[in-house]
């Protein structure tokens, strides 16, 4: 019953998750959702690392995943703080309205 899942399948899943993430970042208007999408992308990458680590029986994959996890936590805290400031200043989280830094 515990037939091993082939690496290709996991990689495919990671790829789909990553593309979903990118699509989310590009399509979403709300910054919070964009941040969520970035998290999905990060986890997709983490999944790929873990799968690869298991495939070659190396601990590196899991080390990298813990690293990504830590980084994601830091990133989210900074990102949320920024989002709070943006909302405070502009009363909006619509990315299409936040276009001041141009040309």
């Amino acid at each position: 019953m515990n037939a091993p899942i082939s690496i290709e399948m996991v990689m495919l899943l990671a790829g789909i998750l990553f593309i979903l993430g990118i699509a989310g970042v590009i399509i979403r208007k709300n910054i919070i959702f964009m941040l969520l999408s970035v998290e999905i992308m990060l986890n997709a990458a983490g999944l790929a690392f873990v799968a690869a680590g298991s495939r070659w029986a190396q601990p590196d994959g899991q080390v990298m995943f813990i690293f990504i996890l830590t980084m994601a936590a830091a990133e989210v805290s900074v990102g949320l703080a920024l989002i709070l400031r943006i909302y405070h200043q502009h009363k909006s989280l619509d990315i299409d309205k936040l276009k001041e830094m141009k040309g």
């Binding site: 990118i22 590009i26 990315i95 936040l98 276009k99 830094m101 141009k102 040309g103």
Partner: protein, 629 residues
Amino acid sequence: MDYLLWLIPAFPLVGFIVLALLGKHLSRFWIAIIGAGSVSLSAILTFVIGFSFLSSTPTGGHYSQTLWTWLEVAAFNPKITLYLDALSLVFVFVITFIGALIHIYSVAFMAADKDYARFFACMNLFVFSMLLLVLADNLLLLYLGWEGVGLCSYLLIGFWYENPTNGYAARKAFIITRLGDTAMAIGLFVIFYQFGTLVIPDILALAPSTWHEGATIATVAALLLLAGGIGKSAQLPLQTWLPDAMAGPSPVSALIHAATMVTAGVYLIARMHVIFQLSPIVQMIVAGIGAATLLIAGFSALTQYDIKRVLAYSTISQIGYMFLALGLGAWTAAIFHFMIHAFFKALLFLAAGAVIEALNHEHNMFKMGGLKNKLPVIFWTFLIGSASLAALPIISAGFYSKDQILWYAWASEHGSPILWLIALLGAFITAAYTTRMMVLTFWGDAKTSVGHYPGKLMTIPLIVLAFFSLFAGFIELPHNFGQFTLFSNLLHQVLPETVLKAGIHGELLFQLLALLVTFGGIYLAYIFWYKQPQRIEKLKRSAPLMSLYRFWFSGWGFDQVYQVLFVKPIVFIANINKNDVVDKLYQGITTATVHLYRLLSFTQSGSLRWYIIGLVIGAILILSIQLML
């Protein structure tokens, strides 16, 4: 005494540094003390050193002091070495002594000027450079002093820079002398290439054994040095800057443009006399230039109305006499005339400055007149200076120096009747324009009232200079007046004796002729400008005479010719290249960058979405390129 030598130029240098750095914070009193005091200290030190030099001639006939090595490149290692022999002693004496008197005079003359400190700083720097020029033992150090005096001349001609014409005169002087200086620099290269050294005594010792008489290379070297001398000494054809240089204050004209700097050319030729002796052609050219210049400048002086321009042309003319003497091989006569000329011309300039100031800056002689009784001290000292300039026989120093040159023009082995006749005609004109200047300024009716009277600080230097203009001639008497030749005995340590033609007699006859000519000139001017001025009015009605007058007045049209030949073409070319053709390339690079940046700045839309799309596309591109390769 060797070890004290460095102090002579050091005093004015310290004066310059102090005045240049602290001049704004010092009171006028201290500026005057430092400015005039530094040069006076140099003068006193020169007396001490000169006395010790004369009382016991040092071994080798010179003091020298090496301070440090300037730079060292393989065999080229010029040193900062001061070298004082009989020739430099005469020059150092004139520079410091007359310089000190002029500085003292300036204390009063410039008293009302707002740039008091700048004036004395420049004057001190000038004295320092000039001392470096005459004390240098190698040509490179001499050249440093040579450029230094040129710079100070520029700074002081344009001293009153608020008037643009003064700035123009300063630039003119600087650029024209630069022509000569460039030629001289090339001359230094030639000499270094030939001898491998620039040390003057070494060159003078090596030259006769390396070059034979009349060698082309000797002629080239002598010509290049001569060009430098011509530029500095305002001789034909580079003389046009000196009359305009009168834009500077009168003490500047006295110190730089009469007594010292303009005679640097005479010094250079006398110093390098061995090279000139090796090239008889160049010696002839020197004599020719001197003769032509003294005539041309003399005629111009006869027509000027600005008192300082008369003196300027007369300076050119008198330096022409010195060049004539140098060309004739009458080395000591040239240096003697230099010294006497420094005395009386400095006196004349200072006295003219006093007159101009007394008449509220009136330069026009035709608006002066009648000052004989109003400014007695100025009158008497000016009279003595004029007597010396006109070479009034027996009583004036100018007679003794000029008579020598006249005599050598006939009797020297390079002399000829033509040169003698020109020199004699020059003496006639000199007497005429001097008398004209005297008569117009001091006799006749007063046309301008005297604004204020010169003080003691101004009159005392005049009296001292007048004393020397009268009596300095007695240290060198003509041969037939008894064999009293103190001056040439001293100089013959350095300069060779004049070679006379065989079997020439009758020096007395020539002296009588010179005397007659001098009195003739005085009488002529007396008739025309004092006794019967209606005669000059009659002459003015003649058209050819008037155009001749205008021709002489403009300095024989040299300025106009140079304007057409050099100034206009250069201005034309400069106008074409106004926008700097070469610069276009670099401007093009800048414009392209600016445009590219404008283009790229559109991509910075501020929309985060686009940035992400850009990132993704970039990543895909890089990945697919990697996959394909």
